[in-house]
Symmetry: C2
Subunit: 234 residues, 2 copies
């Protein structure tokens, strides 16, 4: 009789390209994946449909969707009715904190991932897909932040004291968007089933927001065609 896989990992799954790649990396490293998504008052709940598609097609053990209402705290184009910037240059994209920033969002998400990790007991590993190069405006992406959360997690949790160490893996943190896509294509990620756009119409991406531009550039650098659907690209 074959023993079941015992290495469990929580994978934060947003429905985007990065987290789909992170999920594939987790599985390629032998982890049983427990996916975690959030219904957080995002304007585009279609993201969650894409997360569900990834979870199903990659065969995760369980996909949990946690409802939290970040609109209570306001302040971002991803939850409020503020215009998403389009047609920004790569230089502009790298500058300052974008309006799509949600206060403390990622700290909240990681805290729930920590609770989930603890609750499934025998494992204590989290995965988080972030990218330090492309989204330099997002403070979450700094390695210092990942280390700080890992340190906190080990002070915070029962598991962290019981001898098992909580590890926060950020396998994308040193990769460019092109590198992420290259890795994901090699691992068979179905990028048609991902959505990165900040301003989609139904299931189609706009092609011109920061996220779309970075994604398209990444595919182009791989001499590859993005299989996702776009409204129009000209």
């Amino acid at each position: 009789m074959q023993l079941p896989q015992t290495k469990k990992a929580i994978v934060l799954l947003s429905g985007g390209l990065d987290s789909a790649t992170t999920l594939a990396i987790a599985q390629s490293q032998g982890f049983s994946a427990f996916a975690l998504s959030f219904s957080y008052g995002q304007r585009h709940t279609v993201e969650l449909e894409f997360a569900q598609l990834q979870a199903e097609s990659r065969g995760v053990v369980r996909h949990m969707v946690v409802p939290i209402d970040l609109r209570l705290f306001g302040g971002s184009a991803l939850t409020d009715d503020i215009a998403v910037p389009k047609h920004r240059s790569m230089h502009e994209i790298g500058q300052k904190i974008p309006v799509t920033y949600v206060p403390a969002r990622n700290t909240i998400f990681l805290s729930f991932a920590l609770a989930y990790a603890e609750s499934i007991g025998s494992n204590d590993i989290l995965f988080l897909g972030v990218n330090a190069l492309d989204y330099s405006g997002y403070l979450i992406c700094r390695p210092e932040y990942i280390h700080a959360f890992e340190h906190l997690a080990n002070l915070a949790t029962a598991a962290g004291v019981g001898g098992k160490k909580m590890t926060i893996h950020a396998p994308l943190i040193k990769l460019s968007k092109a590198d992420i896509i290259k890795k994901g294509l090699a691992l068979g990620v179905d990028y048609a089933r991902t959505l990165s756009c900040y301003d989609p119409v139904e299931h189609k991406a706009c092609g011109y927001c920061d996220a779309c531009q970075l994604r398209l550039k990444g595919f182009a650098e791989n001499q590859s065609q993005d299989p996702a659907e776009y409204i129009s690209l000209n």
Copy 2:
């Protein structure tokens, strides 16, 4: 014309004795208090009524109650149907992690407090009422944890980078329960409007769970009578 108070603080308010005292301390230090409570699937939502009573009687600027469902992650007598231990000795109370531990709960609560702090903008101060002496089983209570969260907060937030430093105050962390009560009485905290019990019946405390025992001991050490209602004490 008098200028409005500009120092704002988020105060985590549970309805218990500790957080009521923390609120009074925040106000005595000149902070305008923004109270934050959670509806997290706790078995006793009466806690929230006591939090509301404190918020109203102390005149906070706003009291926000955030719904989150920690039952998704199971594992505690505060959300599940596990018996609350009663009649434990003070020695037993100090031992190991109690069944009332909720995985990563306090990390989640602090993350929301961070979001709230950011969203009200001009201030970046949080208060948290914890007690290192009485609840030694609760890992949250260690100063290292508070420092770790503060460090994380400053890496995580836009405010933390913009030059303003986020500070996590834990004014009770070195106080015994008796010291906390002494301070609160001096600041006029109405302890009749607080509930500490893990197993209340309607609005009355049981008198025999760990929280009730610690509280009663604290009042006794102040030669004072706990004004809260108990089911019966004999």
